[in-house]
């Protein structure tokens, strides 16, 4: 029982120490928090940008529809119902040959007189199919093609392939850049936290002398690193939110025909991810610094 109480008293001590040392170190803490904040800002900014451009390429891809032409004598409504059951399909709309004919005549009235040109309506029934995302277009199109009663299908295959290439490139490049920035952030954090470890080397020495275990010695620094990360993220958050708004606006200006939503959920998710990264990098940075110090001492 006493050992449990002792453990909780040590936890209390560690928490007290972590918070107290941040204020005790004054400007040094400020430097670490600011450095982490700037690193996280760059990391978050690039991360967001690549996310948004990737989102945009998907949004453009999402506009692609699969036009399904129904063979004469087949039941378009039945086919449409079957297609709607396919995974990835969001909506299907049947355009009967008569509707299509009327529409075409209306569109072309000024240029041609259809009454004289053709007696019969040459158009087939058509089903307009919308899918979840650009990745779904090709697999859904392949399944539709195999259905009985489908004459032909048409979708922007080339445009889609190009868009998918762009999206994959952005995702890969974004991941590499974010990965590199993550390593850079960690390196900067390790080095700045090492300064605080240096200033507290006597504390570490005393802790070792009075019989604190190495594991215990790590904790105040670990928590301090996590707090540095959390405060750093907090500091750069307003800038990141404004940056996101700015990016979304610019993208919307460039692509007015694609609805780009600056969904608040995405921003919150990004900030939450960044907080995790900040806290994780802070903890890791502290751990590396203290370990290095303990093994050299």
């Amino acid at each position: 029982m006493e050992s449990v109480r002792r453990f909780w008293r040590q936890v209390g001590f560690v928490l007290e120490e972590a918070v107290a040392s941040i204020s005790r170190q004054g400007w040094m803490s400020g430097v670490v928090i600011l450095t982490m904040s700037v690193s996280l800002l760059i990391l978050g900014g690039i991360w967001q940008l690549s996310d948004d451009i990737y989102g945009l390429s998907r949004a453009i891809g999402g506009k692609v529809e699969i036009m399904t032409f129904v063979r004469d004598g087949s039941d378009a409504a039945r086919l449409s119902a079957a297609i709607r059951q396919f995974p990835g399909v969001t909506t299907t709309v049947v355009i009967t040959r008569d509707e299509a004919w009327t529409q075409l005549q209306r569109d072309m009235r000024s240029e041609l007189s259809f009454e004289n040109l053709l007696d019969d309506n040459p158009l087939p029934d058509t089903i307009r199919v919308k899918v979840d995302g650009p990745d779904q277009v090709t697999p859904v199109a392949d399944r539709i093609r195999q259905l009985e009663g489908v004459e032909d299908i048409n979708y922007g295959r080339d445009l889609l392939a190009k868009l998918q290439q762009i999206a994959a490139f952005i995702q890969a490049a974004g991941a590499i850049i974010v990965g590199c920035l993550l390593v850079a952030t960690l390196a900067v954090t390790v080095n700045t936290i090492r300064l605080t470890v240096q200033t507290r080397r006597r504390e570490i020495e005393i802790m070792q002398l009075v019989g604190a275990s190495n594991g215990f010695i790590h904790w105040p620094f670990l928590l301090e690193g996590m707090l540095f990360g959390a405060l750093g993220t907090l500091l750069c958050s307003p800038l990141l939110v404004s940056w996101r708004t700015f990016v979304i606006q610019r993208l919307q200006e460039l692509f007015p025909f694609v609805p780009i939503e600056a969904d608040s959920l995405g921003t919150v998710r990004l900030l939450a991810n960044l907080l995790l990264v900040g806290v994780g990098v802070g903890a890791l940075g502290s751990l590396v610094s203290v370990k290095r110090h303990l093994s050299s001492g």
Binding site: R6, R9, L209
Partner: protein, 229 residues
């Protein structure tokens, strides 16, 4: 309490600090380690609290060969040893009370016990009224007394002092020695590395003399040996 068997220490730089040292210190003894700077006094003390490990031979503290202790077992040893340094090693941003209490808090001692023991340690070194001051506001002698209070607050059975009066004037040095004597009278084994001839001559305690890393004399109630510096 302490037994050194053929202990040698060669630093990675190649410096041979201690050579073939044999020493037995009984529980409750007061021992001076004397010798010139570089004679190996500090290294010998460091070997006793495992700040350094012996290159050969064995160091036994309370029957345990401390050279064989794992890193995880080291804290248990350290909790049984108090260490006092020439340069005090106080935490400058903490008050006198916090400096002493720190040693107990780290070990998870209860708040009431921390208060009680810290106060009585500060009483012993006559610094109770200085509790709220920072180390920088104290004289050298007072700082050394804080260091002493911190070393004994956990009531260790062994106290190692490395040149505790090295930076102090003669009067203050005597204050520290009187304190060490009092602590020793409470049953704590005390080892003091020093080259303060006057003190060693006056106190007539056991004197172990080192020269060039070797123990050259061990006198039960001696003075500062002639020719050792």
């Amino acid at each position: 309490m302490i037994r050194l068997k053929q202990v040698s220490k060669i630093y990675p730089s190649g410096v041979r600090a201690v050579t073939g040292a044999n020493l037995d210190v009984e529980k409750g003894e007061f021992v001076f380690l004397v010798g010139l700077s570089g004679a190996g006094k500090s290294t010998l003390l460091k070997l006793m609290y495992r700040a350094e490990t012996a290159t050969s031979g064995s160091v036994l503290v309370s029957g345990t060969d401390i050279g064989r202790l794992s890193r995880g077992q080291l804290p248990t040893l350290r909790r049984r040893i108090g260490v006092v340094f020439q340069d005090y090693k106080l935490l400058p941003q903490r008050t006198v009370f916090e400096n002493v209490a720190f040693a107990l808090k780290v070990l998870g001692t209860s708040r009431s016990e921390v208060d009680k023991r810290t106060r009585s340690a500060l009483d012993l070194v006559n610094l109770r009224e200085y509790s709220d001051l920072m180390p920088g506001q104290l004289s050298g002698g007072q700082q050394q007394r804080v260091c002493l209070a911190r070393a004994i607050v956990n009531t260790p059975p062994l106290l190692l002092c490395d040149e505790p009066t090295g930076n102090l004037d003669p009067d203050t040095s005597w204050d520290i020695m009187r304190l060490l004597t009092r602590i020793n009278q409470h049953g704590t084994t005390v080892l003091v590395a020093t080259h303060n001839k006057t003190i060693v001559d006056s106190m007539r305690r056991r004197v172990v003399a080192l020269d060039g890393g070797r123990i050259v004399q061990d006198i039960a109630r001696g003075g500062y040996p002639v020719g050792v510096g």
